[in-house]
Subunit: 199 residues, 2 copies
């Protein structure tokens, strides 16, 4: 989950055309789906179509790169700090508490990575591959914490927690309302079933 940090500079550089395009793409595709058009994307980013196609060969590449670029920020919003001193069980539940909070935010549409994979219908699409890498990183986080917490089968627990995470996202999207403790209580049941200790 560690990310390379850019070298410190005296003043923040203006975002490059590439970064502006990818940030606008992540926002637009999350709000409207990855089928939003290139016209709308370039308008939102303030970038010409010509510039877009000079930077990226295809719109599919833009979708994939925008997911890649947003993955670190997305995980930072969900995961606790690397060494917050809390027991693994709490560090796992933190993710589900964050999900519950995020689901109450304006403009919540579930997990952007799952949404892209669901919309694209092709596991080989570069954006579906990016979604899989992100989701695998979440599962790997759960697994490390499950191991540290003495889970009876850390790999299995990590997959189960990922299923609850994604299913709770779907539940909130389908019902059109925030989660109300469902994700945290299910994660708790799975942690208990895997004998992950409290402290």
């Amino acid at each position: 989950m560690t990310e390379a940090t850019p070298a410190a500079t005296t003043a923040p550089a203006a975002p490059s055309t590439r970064d502006r395009l990818l940030d606008a793409a992540a926002d637009l595709f999350y709000r409207e789906g990855v089928h939003a058009g290139v016209e709308a994307l370039c308008r939102a980013a303030g970038v010409s179509k010509r510039s877009m196609y000079q930077l990226f060969g295809t719109k599919d590449d833009v979708i994939a790169a925008s997911l890649e670029r947003s993955a670190a920020a997305h995980r930072a919003a969900l995961l606790p700090d690397a060494d917050d001193g809390r027991p693994p069980r709490e560090r796992i539940l933190h993710v589900f508490r964050r999900l519950e909070a995020l689901s109450a935010g304006a403009g919540f549409h579930g997990c952007p990575f799952v949404a892209a994979a669901v919309e694209l219908k092709s596991p080989d699409h570069p954006a579906s591959q990016a979604a899989r890498r992100h989701k695998d990183a979440l599962t790997a986080y759960f697994r490390r914490e499950a191991e540290a917490g003495g889970a009876s089968d850390p790999a299995s627990l990590a997959r189960r927690l990922t299923v609850v995470f994604d299913g709770a996202n779907s539940f909130s999207v389908v019902q059109g309302r925030p989660l109300d403790g469902l994700a945290v209580s299910m994660a708790t049941t799975l942690l208990d079933a895997a004998a992950v200790k409290e402290g």
Copy 2:
């Protein structure tokens, strides 16, 4: 889960234009997403755009009606017969076994109802409402069986089972491969946690 059955006739009637259009829509939208175009839809259905717009005011209405029309068949593929004599616990696990089998089928793209809601990004869209009704019917099925099986909190168990169902769908879509027992084993853990008896 009961559906009105049409009056018996001596020979099956040819499908109406409406039914042909909705069946083609359900198929196309599942394979390509609800953003597939009206041109492609009318071509697949062998129906003119003029006919489509005479039957349905908007494409949004076609999406909603196609989900409504496919809901009964979808539940028939997942749920056991009404009176198969098996204990409630087995009747719940049946749904997850069916999901595991369906996820191994060619052209599996997860739950079509969740996919539509995820793609449309609007809980008020008529198709998102249709998706919610279908999902609520699945949750109601789980709840009835959970009650019959003596679950400690049938409403809570039913919501949890729905989350596992949707999360397992997402897992298969994101990973691009069939489930391998994950959905059944998670449902089993939740049934055990809710003290649903074996027979």
